[in-house]
């Protein structure tokens, strides 16, 4: 099966170079772990996109998280991925400057706890009535419904000490921003599988209708990814781009409508700040008026829009947008390794730099 797909891929990428972006971090890992990248013809280039939530979390949002973790009486709850993401603080920040991370803040006394589900953060709040428990909201549409569910549950339970600090993002408008990004050429998109379980195939229509590029929602096995690429190449050949679902086992065109309703019940659109892409309108999610009392930003009056410098040697912002590959960064494998990451793309298990470090030798 794989051989047959590869043979057709080779035929279809005969002459003209084609660049396909895999948006999702889990796809990136699968591409390098399975060795797919090495099997493809040279003219078919895979570009890793902005689909790792930790990697696209902006420095200004990290600054809010660090500021929060230093507040007295606060327990910070977060997915583990975020813990080691470093950022450099400006002079005078809390009397200190230099590089920090939530892990380092924890070593200095901050109460930072890893949870597996946002619902676990509610349990922490119930067990610690004298403390304010804040969940750091990072993630895309796959994760947002679970967080919306936790907020609704907090309301139902009338919890007074649970808060959400939202840096949540939605993917399709970021994909559109990338299509207008001068440094990258994208001939087609491998659309994220698990985000699409929630949103379905409709939100990608602009890619085919407005930009005339193929968009294929793809699963995570090596065979799925190869088939997704083949479907893109066939569409390019025919000159009739459309949104296709390769990941038929899990994705329906309409998505998970209950999850979509839950998102709309709790959140409203707002701008979001993306590492590497900047501020993109309508790609962020903030709590609706009805849920304001759970808004960690309002409660703790954290510094908004503060820009802190990440390590100037770190080029994660360019890696995320596909402008460069990790190998183009001078620090990659030298000063920047999984043990001593300079930026989020090397920290996160699904970051492009980490995937290249581990599997693309």
């Amino acid at each position: 099966m794989v051989k047959k797909i590869l043979a057709e891929i080779r035929v279809l990428t005969d002459k003209k170079p084609v660049s396909v972006m895999e948006v999702c971090g889990t796809h990136t890992v699968a591409v390098y772990r399975s060795g797919i990248a090495g099997l493809l013809p040279k003219n078919l280039r895979l570009i890793s996109g902005p689909g790792c939530p930790v990697c696209v979390t902006s420095e200004s949002d990290l600054y809010r998280f660090f500021t929060l973790s230093r507040k007295k009486g606060v327990i910070v709850t977060t997915f583990g991925d975020l813990l080691r993401v470093p950022a450099r603080l400006r002079q005078g920040y809390g009397g200190q400057s230099g590089e920090t991370s939530l892990e380092k803040e924890r070593a200095k006394g901050a109460d930072v706890r890893i949870v597996y589900s946002p619902m676990d953060a509610l349990t922490v709040a119930e067990k610690n009535p004298g403390k304010n428990v804040v969940f750091l909201g990072i993630g895309f549409e796959t994760t947002v419904p679970a967080i919306a569910g936790a907020v609704l549950e907090a309301k139902r339970k009338n919890l007074k000490n649970f808060f959400l600090l939202s840096a949540l993002k939605t993917i399709p408008a970021a994909m559109e921003a990338l299509l207008n990004f001068p440094k990258v050429r994208i001939d087609g998109y491998l659309c994220p599988g698990h985000v699409s379980i929630i949103i379905g195939s409709r939100p990608y229509r602009f890619i085919t209708e407005k930009y005339h590029r193929p968009a294929v929602i793809t699963g995570f096995q090596p065979e799925d990814i190869l088939e997704g690429l083949l479907l893109i190449l066939r569409q390019l050949k025919r000159g009739k781009p459309k949104v296709e679902i390769q990941y038929r086992a899990a994705v329906r065109p309409e998505g998970n409508e209950i999850a979509q309703k839950l998102i709309r019940r709790v959140f409203t659109d707002g701008p979001a700040s993306w590492r590497g892409l900047g501020l993109i309108p309508k790609t962020g999610l903030k709590l609706k008026a009805e849920f304001q009392r759970f808004d960690g930003q309002k409660k703790f009056k954290l510094p908004e829009g503060e820009t802190i410098k990440s390590n100037p040697a770190c080029r994660c912002g360019e890696v995320i947008t596909g402008a460069i590959t990790p190998e183009n960064c001078r620090q990659f494998r030298r000063k920047c390794t999984p043990e001593n990451p300079l930026g989020p793309c090397m920290v996160s298990a699904e970051g492009t730099c980490a995937a290249h470090y581990k599997y693309n030798k």
Partner: protein, 77 residues
Amino acid sequence: MCLAVIGKIIEIRKPVEPDAFPQGLVEVFGIKRTISFGLLPSAAKDDYVLIHAGFAIQKLEPKDAKKTLKLLKANNG
């Protein structure tokens, strides 16, 4: 971070209060876990589901679930 794992439903409990999310027990690679079915109320005992951040997000056909689990075991084995 958008990783999802496959679990088989062992039981779904009735919600403790009428407006609470239904919860239930799933088995993921031999480990039992409590998850929420608030996003997938149609799920039933013995169904295979994709789980993300403590919530079932999608049902899978048993043949698709078994195929993926077999591949995952082969890759990690």
